[in-house]
């Protein structure tokens, strides 16, 4: 691969070229693991992932500096019912009419790396509509805007770390990473833990999507087990009669750094 263009609108490479780059990185990862390497499974995306062209000039080149969290880093910002209205968790009732598409419920739990529920924290989501179009000036994809769907929701996790959104299944959409590039359908999630160091943003995908292998953003998570953690599970117990389909997706943040001071019986 000779100096790929860093212009996000270039759409220069073909899917076959990008596929070959993705395959090369994956094979090299597998080879290192098979040969012993350090045996560590990568759980996060590579920041330096050339098949995703926009990452070329935006990934740090120096190793991150190991820091012991101090002061405010050991705490998280506080959100509460004055910040979030419970109706914000239903993206299908924000306008006067019903949005077009497959109504669905996404539910799951937010846990820290020790398996403790993250309670009372903010979860934000945003997504395209059923036709794969965002309500965004820069989204010029030739698909209809749905006047009854904005695609933004918020909620606070309950005492068990649980969250639930009612929304519409988003469609796949084209982008200009390379020629004929299409993103698998996904919902963006923004999450806070109990420490500032647990802050994260990610994307939830739907099972069985044929676009998974073609997508450099998902494939930037090189380990297949780690990629699988971003795919929700269809759950018929969440599906409701003549109303909506249901998906379950649990989220694990990193471990907390504070020594828990609370009694175990709280």
């Amino acid at each position: 691969m000779a100096n790929p263009s860093t212009d996000p609108d270039a759409a220069a490479a073909s899917q076959a070229e990008v596929d070959a780059e993705i395959r090369g990185i994956r094979e090299s990862y597998e080879r290192v693991r098979e040969e012993g390497g350090d045996g560590t499974e990568e759980t996060q995306p590579r920041l330096d992932y050339p098949p995703y062209r926009s990452s070329l000039l935006r990934h740090p080149t120096k190793d991150p500096h190991h820091a012991d969290p101090e002061g405010v880093e050991l705490l998280a910002p506080c959100f509460g019912h004055s910040d979030v209205d419970p109706v914000e968790a239903d993206l299908t009732i924000q306008h006067s009419g019903d949005p077009i598409g497959e109504r669905m419920v996404i539910t799951g739990r937010v846990l820290d790396g020790d398996g403790r529920p993250v309670a009372g924290q903010l979860v934000e989501i945003w997504q395209a509509n059923a036709a794969g179009r965002y309500i965004h000036q820069r989204d010029q994809h030739h698909a209809p805007v749905d006047p009854n769907f904005t695609g933004v929701g918020r909620c606070l996790t309950d005492a068990d770390g649980g969250y639930t959104f009612t929304t519409i299944k988003p469609g796949p959409y084209p982008w200009k990473n390379h020629h004929n590039a299409w993103r698998p359908a996904h919902v963006h999630f923004s999450l806070f833990g109990t420490d500032f160091t647990q802050r994260m943003i990610t994307q939830m995908y739907f099972p069985g999507d044929p676009l998974f292998d073609l997508d450099p953003i998902l494939q930037s998570i090189v380990d297949p087990r780690a990629r699988e953690r971003l795919v929700a599970t269809y759950d018929h117990d969440v599906t409701s009669h003549e109303w909506s389909t249901g998906y379950r997706w649990d989220i694990v943040l990193t471990g907390a750094h504070r020594t828990p001071l609370e009694a175990e019986d709280d």
């Binding site: 560590t40 499974e41 990568e42 759980t43 996060q44 995306p45 590579r46 920041l47 990452s55 070329l56 000039l57 935006r58 990934h59 740090p60 080149t61 120096k62 991150p64 500096h65 190991h66 820091a67 012991d68 101090e70 002061g71 405010v72 880093e73 050991l74 705490l75 998280a76 506080c78 959100f79 019912h81 004055s82 910040d83 979030v84 739990r109 846990l111 790396g113 020790d114 398996g115 934000e124 945003w126 965002y134 309500i135 965004h136 820069r138 933004v152 160091t197 802050r199 994260m200 943003i201 994307q203 998902l218 998570i221 780690a226 953690r229 971003l230 694990v252 990193t254 471990g255 750094h257």
Partner: protein
């Protein structure tokens, strides 16, 4: 409730191109209560490996109050104009510029005061953490465990400068003056 398949951390992903209609909200970058006499502007630019502005980044600021106390108050999303919550969110403009209107954090437990910062951007596949230290705390900074462990040319990437009464700090995602980004114990990649 079913348990997750394992307790390995969920992978991050880029904030993507179209967060601009979803995450910004009115007053998101204004942390200081209206009319507070100690208001300060923290401003700067987010730049890529060519030194070009990054117009689609999102920064989140988290800080102690001027007395050095971490704040645990709700009201960051729907601000009442009086409560200081210590948390805010700023989107970059077309010139890569951002600004926060806030109060200077005080020293927590006598240490060197800093803003904790998270950066998200299109093209950035996972969030980055860093700190912005305030000018005027030379002794505390010399004793700071993070700053004192960095070579001089790297250390200055974490220091804000004072300019026309504002605090000014630029973030460089890549390049010779690349900002120092942080990873914490218990983070696995």
């Amino acid at each position: 409730m079913t348990e997750p398949r394992d307790l390995a951390p969920t992978p991050g992903q880029t904030i993507g191109p179209f967060f601009g209609y979803a995450l910004p909200f009115p007053g998101d970058h204004v942390l200081a209560p209206a009319g507070h006499p100690d208001t300060v502007r923290l401003r700067g630019r987010v730049l890529d490996g060519d030194g070009a502005p990054v117009p689609d980044a999102l920064l989140e600021l988290w800080q102690a109050d001027p007395e050095g106390r971490p704040v645990q108050r709700e009201g960051s999303l729907r601000r009442d104009g009086a409560t200081f919550t210590g948390w805010g969110r700023a989107s970059t403009r077309t010139d890569g510029g951002y600004d926060f209107v806030t109060l200077r954090p005080g020293p927590v437990d006598g240490g060197a005061p800093f803003f904790a910062l998270t950066v998200f951007a299109r093209g950035l596949l996972n969030r980055l953490f860093t700190r912005i230290y305030l000018p005027g705390y030379g002794d505390a900074q010399a004793a700071d465990p993070l700053l004192s462990g960095l070579p001089e040319d790297r250390r200055r990437t974490l220091l804000a400068r004072e300019e026309d009464g504002d605090l000014v700090w630029d973030l460089r995602l890549q390049g010779p003056d690349e900002t120092v980004f942080l990873t914490y114990p218990r983070h696995r990649s």
